[in-house]
């Protein structure tokens, strides 16, 4: 580990306002859909209304007859693609049956919305009408939607695989799990369903592909431009140097744009075929149906403990609903969670068994935390379940099992090394803010007046900062490529700075945070440090933004490059002042002599030496002031913290309202506290969304019921309280900034706090367990059941698992009587 001396900071640690905001909030940002190229054509996709069928015939004649339509392509037309869409995980020693996924189907559709044909024309509205004209004859096949039903293999999603079970993956450590459970004083066992959610980024996906003069350029709303370049090169047989991918402004990703998208490959292929640029912009309906979903697991969980509350063993069997195909990382998602199965606790024996199962739904992949929210949910809900079983206060139970600060670096039974932590400190700070005694008094008082208030805790840690290459790459965990990050810092002759990063932000604020890091190191102001990202032609190979990796991998790369620039600058300054480079320091925005700050040079003066007057350079030193490097950290990072949620439940309607949220997060020293707050706020909203409001629902025929924002309930500002955030700062020894990721922490921490709070509010009503989503219906049903009104089967029992099929959903205006003008 390089321990470059960190200069005295000035900008780092400040809540500098986001440099990217003025252009975003004044409408001056350029998203893919804002771009138009000369001669550009538009694409629309013909999608399957069936969840499982054989494609008997495709008749495009009516579509082709429409004025303005250039071509209609099917899967057969694209048979010259050299590789199917990628799945990038091949864990050594595990057999995975990977169903082939081509941009357009070849003979079978396997989920509603599967892409059957591509329509290209010169107007974006005409292609939509033409797509509706393409007549596809389907021969319906049986459909399997429920993941546990699919495990029976009665209906096969891919007959050629012979089974719906694509793989099994087990990881255990510390001893035999069955023995450990058997030897425990108590074992608590639950079935926990972590339901399917959508990413729902504000900007849907989209691209423009232009193949011209033997080279391909793709503007894509993506989190991973460099990965796309690599895959386009492979799929289309173009050498990588002739492929350029540009991510312009990207309006949110949440994992949904960490994907090699079928539609983008289609556009690239069609552009080469037609010799004109092709644009495709996803509609919101498509976004709900065919942008990958997240979660969707059925978890069988067992936790063992001694009578005095020491957790002895934790076992999770995860049945993962993959959907009908694999996306880039689909089968890998729960595994990511398994790495932090022990959470904040010294659990001696753990085991995760994962079963991947295909169903006739769109595929799941990395969304909002990917794997870790599911695992944290199980763990933190189970801690409360165990606490109740043992009659121990859930906070006390957590304390009894926390890994102690002096135990770090701490190796878990899985062989993962937690870098640093101080879990009690974060919990104590949260309790200080919350004041439990006052809360319990208030809770009792409210209850006497019919308001059911509850409090729930989640003390989490998670694994992020996705890297290091050796651990995650082909010979390690089995990803198809190592994870590192690149930086290039270029000081211009006038002293302003351009920084290229391989990270690819889509809302996080890299342009601000990275500028603060660089400014401090090279003695300048963040306003003259421009952060350039998302263009494969401008900087070294990069891996993009996901897995809360940007700061602890990309930011550290940038810091190291800036430190090398600073070192060179010190030598130039020392040469000009006839001093020792070791005596030059960055101070008040200048390189100056220690002890005699009047003697020194500005960065612009240093750049003048490096670019303008070579006689002022030390003998033998290369001209210029520029540094590129790739940084590969030594370990993951493990942020942690305590989230506390307070809810009110209306006992008559079942409606849950989050009334208070206290979050104490620890992501190491803050580069910009405001950016951290933004990430935490957004993450919690995601958690609240999943726990109470959001659910992707398919009916038994595989029709997507939640295809619009009228049916899929995203929370708004009205559903969330004003967050009370605070931080503790425990440095990570894994990188020179001491930082840990914070992008996903909120969403990882949040859901169990909500479930635990609702249970706390309802325990006296006889409810000790309830699954998400905590809709008014779900809560009311639980209350009805607890009140023991056994009036035989009710409508709501069907409704519980499966909101009915689009029909009659008030407000979505599904049936308009023909001719009847309202």
């Amino acid at each position: 580990m390089s321990t470059v001396e960190v200069p005295p900071t000035k900008h780092v640690g400040q809540s500098l306002r986001r440099k990217e905001d003025p252009r975003l909030i004044t409408g001056r940002a350029t998203y893919v859909d804002d771009l138009a190229l000369p001669g550009m054509l538009h694409a629309a996709v013909v999608r399957s209304p069936e969840a499982h069928a054989r494609v008997v015939a495709i008749d495009a004649s009516a579509a082709l007859a429409r004025p303005g339509i250039k071509a209609v392509y099917t899967g057969e037309d694209m048979s010259d693609l050299l590789a199917p869409l990628p799945m990038a995980w091949a864990p050594p020693g595990v057999e995975i049956k990977t169903p082939e996924r081509w941009p357009l189907v070849r003979g079978h559709v396997r989920h509603m919305g599967d892409a059957v044909a591509l329509v290209i024309g010169d107007d974006k509205y005409v292609v939509v009408d033409a797509a509706a004209d393409v007549e596809v004859e389907y021969e319906s096949l049986p459909v399997v939607i429920d993941v546990e039903q699919a495990l029976k293999d009665e209906v096969l999603v891919h007959a050629s695989l012979g089974t719906n079970k694509t793989h099994e993956w087990s990881m255990g450590g510390g001893g035999d799990i069955e023995q450990a459970l058997a030897a425990s004083d108590v074992v608590v066992q639950r079935r926990i369903v972590n339901h399917r959610t959508a990413g729902a980024a504000m900007e849907p996906r989209g691209c423009i592909a232009e193949y011209r003069a033997g080279a391909l350029t793709v503007w894509s709303s993506t989190q991973v431009p460099h990965l796309l370049r690599l895959f386009y090169a492979v799929q289309m047989g173009i050498s990588e140097d002739k492929v350029r991918v540009i991510a312009p402004e990207v309006g949110g990703g949440f994992g949904g744009k960490l994907q090699v998208c079928a539609e983008e490959t289609m556009c690239a292929w069609a552009s080469r075929k037609l010799g004109r640029p092709v644009k495709w912009i996803e509609t919101r309906s498509e976004n709900m149906a065919v942008s990958h979903h997240g979660r969707d697991q059925v978890d069988y969980v067992r936790m063992g403990a001694t009578a005095d509350g020491k957790i002895t063993a934790f076992h999770a069997k995860i049945i993962q609903d993959l959907g009908a195909y694999f996306g880039l990382l689909t089968p890998m998602i729960p595994e990511l969670g398994a790495f932090v199965m022990t959470g904040c606790y010294a659990i001696p024996v753990v085991q995760t068994d994962i079963v991947g199962v295909l169903t006739n739904k769109f595929f799941t992949d990395a969304i909002r935390g990917a794997g870790r929210p599911e695992m944290t949910h199980m763990l933190e809900v189970m801690i409360d379940q165990l606490a109740e079983e043992l009659g121990i206060d859930p906070i006390e139970l957590r304390r009894r099992n926390f890994i102690a600060p002096e135990q770090f670096p701490y190796e878990t039974p899985y062989g993962i090394t937690y870098d640093s932590g101080n879990y009690e400190a974060a919990l104590d700070r949260a309790l200080e803010i919350v004041d439990m005694e006052a809360f319990r008094a208030e809770q009792a008082d409210l209850r006497s007046r019919g308001v059911l208030r509850g409090i729930g805790f989640s003390t989490y840690t998670e694994i992020c900062g996705l890297a290091p290459s050796r651990a995650v790459g082909p010979s390690g965990f089995g990803l198809g490529i190592g994870l590192y990050e690149s930086a290039l810092v270029r000081v211009h002759p006038t002293g302003s700075v351009t920084v290229y990063t391989g990270a690819s932000p889509h809302g996080q604020g890299h342009e601000t945070g990275f500028a603060q890091i660089v400014a401090d190191r090279v003695g300048t102001d963040p306003s003259v440090v421009e952060i350039v990202h998302g263009d494969t032609a401008t900087g070294p190979m990069g891996l993009g933004t996901y897995g809360s990796r940007s700061l602890s991998v990309g930011g550290v790369a940038v810091a190291h490059a800036a430190e090398k620039i600073a070192q060179k600058a010190r030598e130039i300054v020392a040469h000009n002042l006839e001093a020792d480079p070791a005596d030059i320091e960055v101070r008040d925005g200048r390189f100056s002599l220690k002890g005699d700050p009047d003697q020194g040079m500005t960065l612009a003066e240093v750049a003048g030496c490096a670019y303008v007057d070579a006689t002022k350079m030390p003998e033998g030193m290369e001209l210029g002031l520029e540094q590129a490097l790739i940084y590969d950290p030594s370990n993951f990072v493990f942020p942690f913290g305590t989230h506390v949620c307070v809810v009110d439940v209306d006992p008559e309607t079942g409606k849950v309202e989050v009334v208070r949220w206290v979050a104490v997060d620890d992501c190491g020293p803050a580069v910009n506290p405001m950016l951290i707050d933004g990430q935490v706020h957004g993450g919690i909203v995601h958690g609240i969304g999943q726990a109470i409001y959001e659910q992707v629902v398919y009916d038994e025929r595989g029709q997507l019921v939640t295809g619009t924002f009228v049916d899929y309930a995203l929370p708004t500002t009205m559903e969330v309280p004003s967050f009370e955030t605070d931080r503790t700062e425990t440095k990570s020894p894994s990188n020179s900034l001491g930082v840990k990721g914070i992008g996903e922490a909120g969403t990882i921490a949040a859901t169990p706090a909500i479930v635990n709070a609702v249970i706390d509010a309802l325990r006296h009503e006889g409810i000790s367990f309830i699954d998400m989503p905590l809709t008014p219906l779900r809560v009311w049903q639980a209350l009805e059941q607890a009140r023991g009104d056994g009036n035989g089967p009710r409508d709501s029992e069907q409704g519980a698992s499966l909101p009915a099929q689009g029909e009659g959903s008030a407000g979505s205006g599904p049936t308009i009587p023909e001719g009847g003008r309202s």
Binding site: S285, T653, P776, S796, G808, S812, G813, R821, S822
Partner: protein
Amino acid sequence: MQTPAPCEYSRATSVDDAIAQLQALGGNARILAGGYSLIPMMKLRLANPGHVIDINPLESELNYIRQEGNEIRIGALTRHVNMLESDLLSQVFPHIFREAEAVLADPVVRNRGTMGGSLCQSDPAEDLSGVVVALKGEAVLRGPGGAERVVGMEEFHLGPYMTSVQPTEMLIEVRIPTHSGFGGAHEKVERRAGDFAIVAASAALAIEGGRITFAGVACSAVGPTTLHIERAEKALVGQAPSEDLFAQCGQMAAADCSPNSDGRGPADYKRHVAGVLTTRALSRAAATAVS
């Protein structure tokens, strides 16, 4: 699908011009008011009119809230935000309009969506329709040659997305009788703010000399239209307000409504909530009645 089918567009210069255009286009046209129901349906291709007639130029003719004798008159193009912020409405019908409008959609929709669009959409989950039904408002429809007819809400709403407005007619005004001793309330359970109701209940009472002299109870999203709970209204009039009475009315609402199971919940749950909200709305209406 998120692109409307091709269609023609024209602007109306007066109410009579709009009606003349409707007549000329022979049933293939739709009035465009705020557009917040019509345009989404066109984008999803659930509505495919060949022609839309924009009545937004008729602000001065059709956007008003005024009192005439024992009636409040609301023009068809009056926006939700106008009703939300109207002092006259909250003075004559305290709470009920403001409460319904405050939970109806979001500010963007409320800035454009209109009284006429809400009623003519005839979405059984509409909040504002519930209020007009509870208040026993009447719709003024104008047809060719300036012929006007006035219909009650029962007659106006025929079913989901169906009204008695004829292809050559336009809704121009809603008339609502006023009452002394008025109290009203609107209760709603929705999945999240701005969402259509899982169930909503509107209650309007007039209480004079300790007796209920007028009662209107309506429930949204539990039937083919916003439902009138007639049995409850009959049970209320002439009685002294009491929690017991309101609880009984809640039971009547639960029994008399006819919800469907759908994505917002199963029928039995909606029935239960209709009862709870009716009781709550009545009891708040009574508590706030101006005596």
